[in-house]
Symmetry: C2
Subunit: 374 residues, 2 copies
């Protein structure tokens, strides 16, 4: 593809060296803890990123859309968990995938859904393996660990050999800045999952898969006994939200939005850039953290953050860059036409604003496409 | 394309009847006020929508990206204003367009930019008409009306016959719930623009284009004397932010995200859907309005809003639907698999999460693509 100087901003830059460090760190951590990693490809939605995760192989993956499932299945991935509650309108596509020598597990938390999946599996004579979703911290979907419906649903599914285990996501860990709180969230996630497995086993049901995960708990779990796999997504890129709860540092953030300075408001202390919310996303994930990073931290093109310089406001194609409130730093001199890199609040959200990544790779520029949409 | 029952949710539904009503309303209003409308195609980014705006013709348009400019130029639009401050990296593409019997006007607010544009125009022997950006309410880019640089820049540009006029956007009007405040914002926008024109004329400079606009001021201006054109974008679709400041009503919102119910949390009063922030966007534009609509208002498939039912929280592919805080309404019974329509906070942001619109049109379903990206 084009050289850097020919690229129109805003574009999404991916540093493959930083990304590989993140990939290797969590892989090694999971190996030490003796647990399989099932990366969530929803963050990158990229075949090329997945190739780096699996070192050219085709390991087990988690997906957030059927479009991801279909894309990765087409490219050799055969072990896929679709980690969003299943609804009947999606079962034709799931069944089609499961026919083609690919396993796509679905997720559910009600008798109704279990019966819908069963009906499809029987009618289409296809196996659709199912995980029951468990909620450990009240953040989202799932049955509470002591809900008798867990065993009831598992029994319905087991009749047709569709019951594969349980899945849980400790979303509450995103609000844990302290090490102790993240460690506690990880242990709570593990212990809750194992308790559910034990209840299923006590009811005479096998629970082959005990799947937990989130980037913070994956990074801070000290023990994963009883867990068969860990899911994590954002760790591949990291972001300001993760840095804000001390899961990573700014230097670990592998993606940034490259923007061009398009003007100044000296009367207001503003530098205007061409990266508005269309490029950065509307995500304000750091708004309630200890340090509010606005719409992103502004760095020089070598990746060094400018002191206290953040995107304070955005419109569709305008970003207002200014010093953090109360800062004594000096506004850098950035002429019209200068380039900056902006670190994202939330890598999943910012990356989703682009159709792919610009990747400097051995003196060349590559473009790695994303599989957006549903 | 497929029938409704074959579509995978989430998808973006566009009601062409409601849209046409919005289009006709503003068109007639501008005709009464005797001013040309230059619609901003950044909201819809759709050729088919633009065809409805111009009744099959190719009127003057405003764009927010060069990709829009190139796309619409390819499809017969020859009068284009690129309403984001120009930077040197974009001039090759602008020059290429201006060569091909198309006029793409650029925007700037500094001597540096004027000199950069001039250098390109001279070197490439191409005319690049320029508008000077004026700020009337401190919201974004532009020179203040009394800044001597306005005349200085216009004189530099006029030497090569590149000066075309001025452009202003009353972004502050988005924070005006009362009729009086919106009327005042419109009059302030008009009066400031005319004052700038007068200063230019007093300095011996022609100012052929006096361009103002925003949907709220376009809807509430009582007089547009001296203004040559009005720009507006979101009016085509409308949204909850516009309804929240009484520019429109909920029934005027032409787009909605269709979602499927994927679960329930009776312990929390939640209905889970498959429309998370990936579909709805992270935009929380109603957060500081009189009525906070969360991530959107939930309606039945016929478009009728459920009492007090909003999307209270989102993750990437999950939406949590619940009653507004303090509501005495009853949570509707929506089984897994049921469809709902969600009205967006901000039409530009929500539409940008999709690659196009599903449009029911005379017993058929059409798909109208969007031109996303840069």
């Amino acid at each position: 593809m084009a050289s850097f100087s020919e690229l129109t901003t805003p574009y999404l830059l991916l540093d493959p060296v930083v990304m590989q460090r993140n990939i290797d760190f969590l892989q090694q951590r999971m190996e030490k803890l003796g647990v399989q990693l099932r990366p969530h490809v929803k963050t990158a939605k990229s075949l090329q990123v997945a190739q780096r995760i699996f070192n050219g192989g085709h390991g087990p993956i988690t997906v957030s859309t059927l479009k991801e499932a279909e894309y990765f299945a087409e490219h050799g991935y055969t072990d896929i968990t679709y980690a969003v509650g299943i609804s009947p309108d999606k079962l034709a596509r799931v069944a089609r995938l499961n026919r083609a020598d690919v396993t796509v597990r679905v997720l559910l938390d009600s008798v109704t859904q279990a019966e819908q999946v069963m009906a499809w599996a029987v009618r289409e004579q296809v196996k659709i393996p199912v995980l029951i979703e468990i909620d450990c911290d009240g953040e989202r979907a799932g049955l509470r660990e002591n809900d008798p419906k867990i065993v009831e649903i598992a029994k319905i599914l087991a009749k047709n050999d569709l019951f594969s285990g349980m899945l849980m996501h400790a979303g509450g860990s995103y609000h844990c800045p302290s090490k102790a709180a993240k460690e506690a969230a990880a242990e709570h996630e593990r212990a809750t999952a194992v308790a559910v497995r034990d209840r299923l086993q006590a009811a005479g049901l096998e629970c082959p898969i005990v799947s937990v995960g989130s980037t913070p708990t994956a990074y801070f779990a000290k023990d994963l006994s009883g867990v068969t796999e860990v899911r994590a997504g954002v760790y591949v890129f990291q972001d300001l939200v993760m840095a804000g709860i001390h899961v990573c540092q700014l230097k670990d953030i592998a993606i940034s939005v490259v923007a061009t300075v398009i003007g100044h408001r000296p009367d207001k202390g503003w530098i205007m850039t061409d990266a508005g919310w269309m490029a950065l996303s509307r995500d304000r994930g750091t708004a309630n953290q200890e340090i509010d990073q606005g719409y992103g931290v502004v760095c020089a093109m070598d990746g060094t953050p400018y002191s206290d310089l953040i995107v304070t406001s955005t419109s569709q194609e305008h970003g207002i860059v200014a010093l953090r409130k109360g800062s004594k730093a000096k506004l850098p001199q950035l002429e019209v036409g200068s380039k900056v890199r902006i670190l994202p609040n939330h890598a999943c959200a910012t990356a989703s604003q682009f159709d792919g990544y610009v990747v400097p790779d051995a003196d060349q520029l590559a473009f790695w496409p994303r599989i957006n949409g549903w």
